[in-house]
Symmetry: C2
Subunit: 459 residues, 2 copies
């Protein structure tokens, strides 16, 4: 039996090997020209790491008005760059090209739209593929663990430098929908309105599981080399697999039923273990397109930050306590150079001695336990308290019934938690399967229903 899918991987490895031998390290990841902000003030991270300085790549559309009151911060999904829309410096279409512009959802005749690459990313903002100023070497997996809130704090340093004291609105979808909420919770006085689309207020174990499998396939690629692959063949096979798994969760079963059904790529040929059905060639192609365009370590760090996301009160208080302790330690050891780097052993997690075992009473539970889902019982009080800083903000929360990665109950949870916290300005919409079968990807595609609601809400 022949394995053309493996031949393709091996041939790419050989090409990349030859290229790195002849011309040194691979070019850095980019989606084109951006503006760049360098912050020279250290940034303390939620889990104790410190970035001595950092860059943020960003792009803007429209003009800041005289009283600097019309800025909208647009947050990205996991692997997106700041290039949400074409610019003069980079005329390539952006990832929200049809949602930004005169008269569009983000109306550039009214608003000054800012989009940044998150820290931890690889499109110009500081991340694992950046040089550590402490030693002039690439961070790789020496990069500290990040949270979504760390990304937001870095963004607000940029807003400081632009003289934007208060945002007209914070807008985002997917991971951006998480960041958008986090912006308001961290800086309630500096955010006017919130738009959160296909996001969540705390990560669900199913989404952690999906990201876990992506991280694992990537880390198992021998080329990953525990994160130190820069200047060598990168773990392109692991990245391809990770993207294929992600792609399974970006769309919906019913859409694939309509688009691909059970059609094989070439029905005249006998079945094969390499991609064979159209749905398989679709996934294969999605992996191929992605595998060399995004930094593998950024995928690990940013997806981990998503797992850690929890705007509940308990997590917020624990984080605040940890930060206060770390700040005190940094102050007392201010002249100790090591104080700025986290303990290199501190990110070690060994597995529990006793692995998880299925509970023996599982039959009884299946048969008799009263089961309550988050959808039934409303948002937990912990989340209501955690979102209380947003109790006076106008908020638009949108979900899509066919989304399996950020299921619609998670956006209902946001809306209900805001309302229970006392917010009377929450608009919540859920696109039914009649409106969209595009699942999680709907926010990238549906200019009419998603874009239309955003435009209406922003006014």
């Amino acid at each position: 039996m022949a394995f053309p899918c493996l031949d393709a991987i091996e041939s790419r490895s050989a090409t990349l090997e030859a290229r790195s031998d002849s011309s040194g390290p691979e070019p850095s990841y980019t989606t084109g020209a951006t503006l760049k902000y360098r912050c020279r003030e250290p940034l303390l991270l939620d889990w104790g790491g410190v970035l001595r300085e950092f860059d943020i790549a960003y792009e803007t559309w429209g003009s800041l008005n005289a009283d600097r009151s019309n800025a909208i911060l647009l947050h990205t999904g996991l692997s997106a760059s700041s290039h949400a829309h074409s610019t003069e410096a980079n005329p390539q279409p952006g990832w929200w090209e049809n949602f930004i512009g005169p008269g569009r959802a983000l109306d550039t005749e009214k608003y000054f739209v800012i989009c940044t690459n998150v820290i931890g990313g690889c499109y110009g903002s500081t991340g694992p593929s950046s040089i550590d100023p402490a030693d002039g070497q690439i961070y790789a997996t020496r990069f500290p663990i990040l949270t979504m809130e760390d990304m937001v704090r870095a963004q607000f340093r940029l807003l400081d430098s632009l003289g934007v004291d208060k945002l007209y609105a914070s807008v985002g979808s997917s991971m951006g929908g998480m960041l958008s909420l986090a912006s308001g919770v961290l800086f309630p006085e500096r955010v006017g309105s919130i738009v959160s689309i296909s996001g969540c207020a705390r990560s669900h174990p199913y989404s952690i599981a999906i990201r876990h499998t992506q991280r694992q396939v990537l880390m198992m690629d021998p080329n990953w080399n525990r994160g130190f692959y820069y200047g060598r063949v990168p773990p392109h096979a692991g990245m391809k697999l990770a993207r294929e798994i992600a792609t399974v969760t970006y769309r919906s079963g019913p859409e694939w039923e309509q688009r691909f059904g059970r059609r094989r790529a070439d029905p005249s040929k006998p079945p094969a273990l390499c991609p064979d059905f159209l749905i398989e060639t679709y996934l294969d192609h999605a992996g191929e397109k992605f595998c060399l365009t995004y930094d593998p370590n950024s995928l690990l760090y940013v997806s981990k930050a998503m797992d850690l996301f929890d705007l509940g009160q308990q997590n917020r208080l624990a984080t605040a306590a940890r930060r206060a302790e770390r700040e005190a330690a940094l102050r007392t050891r201010a002249d100790d150079a090591n104080a700025l780097s986290p303990d290199p052993g501190s990110c070690t997690l060994t597995l529990p001695d006793r692995p998880y075992e299925e509970q023996p009473d599982v039959d009884d539970r299946a048969a008799s336990a009263p089961t309550t889902t988050a959808a039934d019982s409303g948002p937990p009080e912990d989340l209501v308290q955690g979102l209380a800083p947003l109790r006076n903000h106008r908020a638009l929360v949108m979900g899509v019934a066919s989304d399996i990665l950020f299921p619609a109950w998670q956006q209902r949870e946001i809306a209900e938690a805001l309302e229970r916290a006392g917010n009377r300005h929450v608009s919540h919409y859920e696109l039914s399967e009649e409106h969209s079968l595009f699942g999680h990807d709907t926010f990238l595609l549906d200019v009419k229903n998603v874009g239309g609601r955003v435009k209406e809400f922003l006014g």
Copy 2:
């Protein structure tokens, strides 16, 4: 940063390496003692391959009555052995231990229950890890492509040898639910009633996608070595990953929310890229338990057979035509030794020259296209015709609302197609989320609701 999950993989590779150096090939896969049937008549397979002879491992419970009318054939899920229940020869609990026995769902005081390992598997039936009688070497990926119908034909050879002309019932869940339907469609005169739980009548592109990612992570493991790993270190890392992905689809999000929530394995430690949240250690453990117990090539062949499953009329006619052509060729070349092996190049599938591209009109489609799902429009006529051989069979079809791998609409499709074909003896039940949050795994756990319905139906 430390990576205990990678250390564990490397240390297992080293252990396996040392073992294969000192004691030769690893022991064959087994779940314990079984009965064995050897068929010496060649078996022509749907895609043109031929097994000159084959073994079927099987186990039985209860006694065959005098007129041989009380036999129930129980079909397994993908990776299960014939060990559905403990036996004298193998007292270990089986995978349906609580569903079989006196007074149980499959009542051994009334019925003679037979369970087989499928061909293509590795628990005693002929599969890729078996010796090819043509050359005395292990088949590996020289094993021919299989279908579910091929597995059924092999099972009916066993029934012939046991003197069972007609089954009282064909029963199965998951892949077994597919095999159970296929048994009735292929041998309508030899099957009394049909029980199909959490199965389907044709594979859905989402389920193909999920199995595709599992095959890909396995095939990318360098130890897979294009299928020729026997006597060497097997692709245990790829198998572990494949099982973790599968496990994500076996349960449901709401169940995990209740059981694991967002709890970390050791909250006193900082986050890590290796398993960290409880849900991650659960997946890790599921992968660990599985990775050396099932033959990787069996996973590829059996999961591929599931992808190819389609009881629609078109596929059945195309298969019949292909078989007739191949049979004629085999007759005319009966004395040509090569006739019994498929052309070694015949299972090569190269990718289409132009990879799949997103349609440019996708926005319009999202906004305006009338979308019809299988659930809306009823079963396709092709499937109604394909299931017509079952129009007079009593049938029990069950689904579980929280199942994401074989979603409940697929079992509704079976029931509706049977009814449209004229069947007036269809019982269809769907367990709501109030009854079970265990998703696809419900059939293994829910003795009361699943077992109870089966018992009631069989009478």
